[in-house]
Symmetry: C2
Subunit: 333 residues, 2 copies
């Protein structure tokens, strides 16, 4: 376990329930503590350490589950350290869901090192199931596709004051526009997600763009995270609109909104397809933390069975429930 | 094209739009007519004939698209005739979505003949996309599954007076109960569908059962198909509830309702998963005729690429949009 925070702890528990043995754990603020104490899982005797390369070299795991960061630049060094010591790696790093377009050189380097050492690197999570596989499957019931448009949202209140400030909650429209002009924001998660949808569907990406639109309060709205009331007309958050154009014609769009929810609003995942025929898909129940962890765990046997290299979820077999123990699903590679 | 009715005509048009050449057509009531006249597709010069074996033997197609019937007993002879002359077959026969449990001997015979002649037999359609692949993908985001329950419906009004009478529209509850006790009904389509979900998810079927419940009118309801008003308390149709139990634990249920719709009701496809975590999935837009045809057409390259035998949709690669020409997606087999 490389990363033992909220996600790492849930994944560790699910993995042990599927018969996996945890042979090592690497953390940051919890170094020296027993993994059982930090994760709440009984029957693991591992103590959390600090140096991933040392732990992988000593424990020789089949798989490293990495839950430390979201972007290629923040995970690359750790991924390479694991791969070089013969460990497969599966991570939640959102960019790595499909990073051939956003970080082509680093992705190629990971791919080469993984192949050299006969192991794989894959990223999965909620995106894999709800924004890639369900959508690509829906597309498989269409004859012609003009556009596929997804709408997802998250509640600023769930992530504390820092993220609320990042979402510009409370800004005037003018302040928001000025911030947006000068903002050095990290890349959206929507872009690699749509790149994965394109790859899964045999579509060739020719252009990717992102637009950002503020969401304004239509009435005075209290923000718990910032302990303030956002007056009507001021910013509740914003929507990133990622658009990917393909050589074959279909346009893929994902609108991702992070804002202060008002009474009755909830996380959403809704997709519309325009083409022959028009289609749609919606999930009302979205326990994102658990679907993130369960999806990654269901990918584990497929990742261990895959040909070496950087293996995106666009190339894996269909996402499927893997009943029983992980070991029962392994084929000789 | 083996069958040139409503579905066969749409599929023929979609196939030609994907670069396929139609080399023969077999029908029943339209023998002797030009395929272009019956289907409305331009640029096909084929005339509809009556003997599938003769047409396959003469034209040597890569693939026969079969849209003639729903049950193994009604399609088996034609399927075998095609396979024996070296043609792959893809059909809409609902039972054959997964017929290893409902018709094991016939399925084994088809499997053996297909293997002997190096070709495949597969069934696809709306069920493949909406009742198998989307559902099995959703299951792939769960860690533990107690039950998966689908609810689908169709409107008796869409299928004329004969089917309305089959659905017992206008019966009293007593008449319905008496009919049900003595009814010799064909097997449900829900059962092979759930068998396909189980197979796709690595689950072992241990028991399959079907229950049938009447749907009663809560107010006087006019039935156009029968040109009569169904009084409150009498039957508007019924629900077949298929239940499949698996050795691994998950129970799969599909509730399929065919009834006279009242104002505001529409076809539905909604699935709920109980487990860790609870999940759901819904499609509001259901142009079933078009999704049936488009899904089958998207399966064509996968079926042509598959290893010989009876190949169910549980064994095929992920259902995906296949952009461009079918020929571009073919691998040497």
């Amino acid at each position: 376990m490389y990363g033992v925070g909220a996600m790492g702890s849930i994944i560790a528990r699910m993995l042990t329930e599927r018969g996996a043995e945890i042979v090592g754990a690497v953390g940051r603020s919890t170094i020296g503590k027993p993994l059982s104490e930090v994760t709440g899982i009984p029957n693991v005797t591992v103590t959390i350490e600090g140096d991933i390369e040392e732990v992988v070299q000593r424990t020789r795991p089949d798989l490293v589950v990495m839950t430390t960061a979201s972007y290629m630049e923040d995970v690359k060094e750790g991924v390479l350290a694991c791969l070089k010591h013969g460990a497969n790696v599966i991570s939640l790093a959102e960019e790595n869901l499909y990073s051939w377009h956003t970080s082509p050189e680093d992705t190629a380097e990971i791919d080469a090192v993984a192949k050299e050492h006969g192991v794989t690197y894959t990223c999965s999570g909620h995106q894999d199931g709800y924004w890639v596989q369900l959508v690509a499957t829906l597309m498989g019931t269409a004859h012609h596709i003009d556009e596929v448009r997804g709408r997802a949202s998250w509640n600023v209140e769930d992530f504390g004051p820092e993220l609320a400030r990042d979402q510009q909650v409370g800004d005037t429209l003018e302040e928001f526009a000025e911030w947006l002009r000068g903002a050095e924001r990290p890349p959206t998660f929507g872009r690699p997600t749509l790149h994965a949808v394109a790859a899964a569907s045999g579509l060739t990406v020719v252009e990717s763009s992102t637009a950002t639109e503020p969401v304004l309060a239509t009435e005075d709205t209290y923000c718990k995270a910032l302990e303030m009331t956002v007056p009507a007309g001021k910013v509740l958050g914003f929507t990133d609109i990622d658009t990917v154009r393909t050589a074959e014609g279909p346009v893929l769009v994902l609108e991702m909104t992070g804002k202060v929810y008002v009474e009755g609003q909830a996380d959403s995942n809704a997709w519309e397809l325009k083409g022959e025929p028009d289609l749609d898909l919606e999930n009302q129940v979205l326990p994102t933390h658990l679907t993130t962890c369960a999806t990654l765990v269901n990918r584990v046997p497929q990742v261990l069975n895959a040909e070496p290299g950087y293996v995106s979820v666009a190339e894996l077999p269909p996402l499927r429930f893997q009943p029983g123990n992980i070991a029962d699903h392994l084929t000789a590679r």
